[in-house]
C-alpha cells in the first residue's frame, strides 16, 4: 500500500473513531446532562441506566487520542498544544463527570454527586464543541496567551457546540427510550429530546460543512461535488429518521440516532479530507512504515474489540434491572 492510500485509510479510521467517541460518548454525556432537568427522584434512574457502559464509551476517547498520535502525530501535537486551555478544561470536566457518576453510590449526599456528574457532562459537551469548533474555524497561533480559551467569545464556533449538544440530546434520548418502561413518566421527555436532537444534528451538520467550505482552501470544482454529497447525506439521514419513526418507539431508535450522528460527522470529515488534499498534507501523517504497523495491529485488534462492545450492548439490552442499586455489582448466582 502506498503512503497516500494509508493516509486515506487512517483518515477514515480516525474519523470513525471520532464517530465512536462522539456517538457513543454522547449517550452517557447526554443522559447525565438530561438528569439535571428531571426531578431528583428520577435522576438516579437515568444515571443508573449508563452505569455499566460509560467506562468503555469513554475509552473510545483514549483510543481516538492514541490513534491520532499514531497516525497523525503532527496534527496531534499541533492541535493539543494550540488548544491547551480548552483541552484541559474538557479533560477536567470529564473527570468531574466520571467521579460524580462512579462515586455517587458511596457518597454521603448522592444528590450532590448526581449534580456533579450532570454539570460535568454538560460542560464537557460544550468544551468539546469549542475545541472542534476552533479547529473548523481556525486554531490560534502556537504559544498564544489564552491557550485556546478565546474560543469562548468567538460566535463562529457556536454551531459546532450546538451540534454536539443536539447530538447528546439525540443519543441520550434514544438511549432512554430503550431503557425506560413503556409507562415511565420520563418517556415523553426522552422522546422530545430525541426529536429535537435529530433536527439539531441535521441542521448544524449542514451548517458546519458550509462553514468549513467557506473557511478552508477548497477549489470550486470540489465545492460542486461537496454540495452534491451533502445533499445526498441529508436525504439519506431524513430517510433513516423517517424509517425509525415508523417502527415502534421502544428499542429501535438508538441505531438510527447513531447513524444520523454518523452521517453528520461523515459529511464534516469528508469536507475536512478534501481540504487535506493540499500539498504538504502528507507530512502531517506518520511514515509509511509506521502506518503499516498500525494497520496490521489494528486489523487484528479492532474487530474483536468492536464485536465485544456490540456484545456488551446486547447483554445490557437483555439484562434485567440496573446494577446501580447494589453498588455497581449484581448478586452472585454461583456454581454451587
Amino acid at each position: 500500500m502506498s503512503h497516500t492510500t494509508l493516509i486515506d485509510l487512517w483518515f477514515v479510521l480516525t474519523a470513525a473513531l471520532l464517530f465512536l467517541h462522539i456517538g457513543l460518548g454522547s449517550i452517557d454525556l447526554g443522559v447525565c446532562s438530561l438528569s439535571l432537568i428531571v426531578p431528583d427522584k428520577d435522576s438516579e434512574t437515568l444515571l443508573g441506566s449508563i452505569d455499566t457502559i460509560w467506562h468503555s464509551n469513554q475509552t473510545w476517547l483514549v483510543v481516538l487520542g492514541g490513534t491520532l498520535f499514531g497516525a497523525f502525530p503532527v496534527i496531534y501535537s499541533e492541535v493539543l498544544s494550540r488548544l491547551y486551555g480548552l483541552v484541559f478544561v474538557f479533560l477536567a470536566m470529564l473527570a468531574v463527570r466520571g467521579i460524580g457518576l462512579e462515586y455517587r453510590h458511596h457518597a454521603a449526599n448522592p444528590r450532590r454527586a448526581r449534580i456533579f456528574a450532570g454539570c460535568g457532562a454538560f460542560a464537557a459537551i460544550v468544551t468539546e464543541g469549542l475545541i472542534l469548533g476552533t479547529l473548523v474555524t481556525g486554531a490560534p497561533a502556537p504559544g498564544s496567551r489564552l491557550a485556546g480559551l478565546s474560543a469562548v467569545v468567538r460566535p463562529e464556533v457556536l454551531p459546532v457546540v450546538l451540534f454536539l449538544v443536539f447530538t447528546a440530546l439525540l443519543t441520550g434520548g434514544a438511549w432512554l427510550l430503550k431503557e425506560l418502561d413503556d409507562a415511565h413518566p420520563l418517556r415523553p421527555m426522552a422522546r422530545r429530546s430525541m426529536i429535537a436532537g435529530a433536527v439539531g444534528v441535521l441542521v448544524f451538520a449542514m451548517y458546519i460543512c458550509r462553514q468549513m467550505l467557506a473557511t478552508w482552501p477548497i477549489g470550486a470544482a470540489e465545492l460542486h461535488g461537496m454540495y452534491l454529497s451533502l445533499a445526498a447525506v441529508a436525504v439519506a439521514a431524513l430517510v433513516l429518521l423517517t424509517v425509525s419513526m415508523q417502527k415502534s418507539w421502544r428499542g429501535s431508535q438508538l441505531p438510527w440516532a447513531l447513524v444520523l450522528v454518523g452521517v453528520g460527522l461523515a459529511a464534516c470529515a469528508g469536507t475536512a479530507r478534501v481540504a487535506m488534499q493540499a500539498p504538504g498534507a502528507a507530512s502531517l501523517a506518520a511514515s509509511r512504515d509506521a502506518l503499516l504497523f498500525l494497520t496490521w495491529t489494528s486489523t487484528v485488534l479492532l474487530p474483536p474489540l468492536v464485536a465485544f462492545q456490540i456484545f456488551q450492548y446486547r447483554q445490557q439490552r437483555r439484562g434485567a434491572g440496573s446494577p446501580a442499586e447494589t453498588g455497581g455489582q449484581e448478586t452472585s448466582a454461583g456454581p454451587e
Partner: protein, 460 residues
C-alpha cells in the same frame, strides 16, 4: 521561585511528574487486584468454596474505585504528550504514537470492555465465562502495562532507527519494541505492581483483623496476600538487579548520578557503594559519606573490580540531578528490603501457627507493620519512577533529544494554571478514594459472617 513561575518547561515537567505519580497508583492497583480477584475466583470455580467468591466480590469493589481513578487520571496523561510535549510527539511520532495507539486498542480496551462482564455478569454469565472475563480484565491490565513500558523503555534506550530532520525514523520496529531496557523494566514494574497490591491487601486485612471484624474473611485475604507478597518481593530483588545492570550498560550517567559516584575506578580497584552521602554537584564530591567497598562494582557488573563510570567523565550539561535520584533510589531499596523482611516475619508467624482467627489479632506489631507498609509500597513505586525518569535527564529520548527541545510553545501562565488544577485535583481525588475506600472497608464483605465483636468494638 521566579524561575519556577516563568519556566514553562520546568512547569510542564512538574505537571507530567505529578500526573504520572498520581496516575501510577491506580494501574498498579488494578494490575495487582485483577490478578488477585482472578486467583480468588479460580479457587471458587475449582473448589466451589463460596468464601473465595466473597473475596473476589469484595476486592472487586476496590478494583472499581481504582479503575475509575485510572481512567480519570490516565486520559489527561495521554493527552499531555500533545499538549505539553508537542515537539517530542512530532519527533517520536513514528514509534511512540503507534505504541500508545496499540496500548489503548489492546490492553486498555480489553480491560474496560470485559470489566462490564466482570461487574455485571455474576448472574448473567456462567461461572466459567465470568472467570474468563475476569481473566481478560487481568490480561488487559498487564498488556497495557507492557506497552506503556515499551514506550518508556524506548525513551531510555532508543534503538531500531535514527533521527533524521528532527524526526525519529524507525528501521527495525521489533528492535525498537524489544529495546535493551524493556527486558528489565517491564518485569520490574509489573512485579512492583503485584508486590504493592499484595501489601495493600495485607494492610487492609490487618486493619480489620486488629479490630476483630470479619476476622476469618480477612485472615484468608491476609494469608494469600502474605504468600504473594513474599514471592513477588523476592522475585523483585532479582529483576532489580537485572535493571541495575541494564542501567550500568546503557545509561552510565544515570548510574553514576544514582550512586553519587564521581571518579571512575581504576583497573584492579572496586567501586564502593554509598549507603549514605550528601552529594555536592558544584564541588563534585560527597560529604558525610558511608561507603561499602566493592559493592557498586559488584551490583553494576557482578564483578568486585568491574568498571563503573564516574560522573566526572560525563559532561556537566549531560548529568542528571544527583541528590533527588540518590535518595529516591535508597528509599526504594530500603522499602523493598523492609517489605521482604516483614513478609518473611509473617510467613514465620504463620508457620508457627499464630495466624489463626483467635491468635492473629494478638500479632499487633506484625499487623501494624503491614498497615504502615501499605502506603509505603506505593512510595516505593514513586521513588523508583523518580529515579528512572529524573535519571534520564537532560534527555527525553536518551542521547537523541533534550527535554528542553521537546516542549510545546506554551506560556508559563497557562501551564501554571493547569498545574494548579492537577495538584488540587490529585489531592481531591486521593481524598475521595480514601474516604470511599474506608466506607467500603467499614461495611466489610457481603458474607453471612457477622462481626466477631459487638459494633462498639472500636471498628469505626
Amino acid at each position: 521561585m521566579e524561575h519556577l513561575l516563568t519556566d514553562h518547561i520546568l512547569l510542564s515537567r512538574i505537571q507530567f511528574a505529578l500526573t504520572t505519580m498520581f496516575h501510577i497508583i491506580w494501574p498498579a492497583l488494578t494490575i495487582g487486584l485483577s490478578l488477585f480477584i482472578f486467583a480468588a475466583e479460580l479457587a471458587w470455580v475449582k473448589t466451589g468454596n463460596v468464601v473465595w467468591r466473597d473475596q473476589a466480590r469484595f476486592w472487586t469493589k476496590f478494583f472499581l474505585l481504582a479503575f475509575a481513578m485510572g481512567i480519570v487520571s490516565g486520559v489527561p496523561l495521554e493527552f499531555q504528550f500533545g499538549t505539553n510535549w508537542s515537539r517530542f510527539s512530532t519527533a517520536s511520532g513514528n514509534f511512540l504514537g503507534q505504541i500508545l495507539s496499540v496500548e489503548t486498542m489492546s490492553g486498555f480496551m480489553l480491560e474496560s470492555i470485559f470489566l462490564y462482564f466482570m461487574v455485571a455478569g455474576w448472574k448473567r454469565l456462567s461461572p466459567g465465562l465470568h472467570l474468563f472475563s475476569t481473566g481478560m480484565v487481568a490480561l488487559g491490565a498487564s498488556v497495557s502495562a507492557f506497552w506503556i513500558m515499551v514506550a518508556n523503555s524506548w525513551m531510555q534506550t532508543p534503538t531500531g532507527g535514527h533521527m533524521a530532520g528532527g524526526v525519529y525514523q524507525v528501521t527495525d520496529r521489533l528492535a525498537a519494541i524489544f529495546n535493551p531496557d524493556i527486558f528489565a523494566s517491564f518485569p520490574h514494574m509489573w512485579l512492583a505492581c503485584l508486590t504493592s497490591t499484595a501489601f495493600i491487601i495485607c494492610g487492609v486485612s490487618a486493619w480489620h483483623i486488629l479490630r476483630h471484624r470479619h476476622s476469618e474473611f480477612y485472615l484468608r485475604a491476609f494469608k494469600a496476600g502474605v504468600a504473594a507478597a513474599l514471592f513477588f518481593a523476592l522475585l523483585q530483588a532479582f529483576t532489580g538487579d537485572l535493571s541495575g545492570r541494564t542501567v550500568a550498560q546503557n545509561q552510565p550517567a544515570k548510574l553514576a548520578a544514582t550512586e553519587a559516584y564521581w571518579e571512575t575506578n581504576k583497573p584492579g580497584e572496586g567501586a564502593a557503594w554509598s549507603l549514605f552521602a550528601w552529594p555536592d554537584a558544584e564541588a563534585e564530591r560527597n560529604y558525610v559519606e558511608l561507603r561499602i567497598p566493592f559493592l557498586l562494582s559488584l551490583l553494576a557488573t557482578h564483578d568486585p573490580f568491574g568498571r563503573v563510570t564516574g560522573l566526572k567523565e560525563i559532561p556537566k550539561d549531560e548529568r542528571p540531578p544527583i541528590t533527588l535520584i540518590f535518595y529516591s533510589f535508597r528509599i526504594m531499596v530500603f522499602t523493598g528490603t523492609l517489605m521482604i523482611i516483614v513478609a518473611l516475619w509473617a510467613v514465620w508467624t504463620w508457620y508457627k501457627g499464630r495466624l489463626t482467627p483467635i491468635h492473629a489479632a494478638r500479632q499487633r506489631k506484625l499487623m501494624k507493620f503491614f498497615i504502615w507498609l501499605a502506603p509505603f509500597s506505593i512510595i516505593a513505586i514513586w521513588t523508583g519512577w523518580i529515579m528512572r525518569e529524573v535519571g534520564r535527564q537532560p534527555w527525553i529520548m536518551y542521547g537523541l533529544l533534550r527535554t528542553d527541545d521537546a516542549s510545546s510553545p506554551l506560556t508559563a501562565g497557562a501551564v501554571s494554571i493547569s498545574l494548579g488544577y492537577f495538584a488540587l485535583a490529585a489531592v481531591f481525588f486521593i481524598t475521595l478514594f480514601c474516604v470511599f475506600s474506608v466506607r467500603i472497608m467499614r461495611k466489610g464483605p457481603d458474607t453471612d459472617e457477622s462481626s466477631d465483636e459487638p459494633e462498639s468494638g472500636g471498628a469505626s
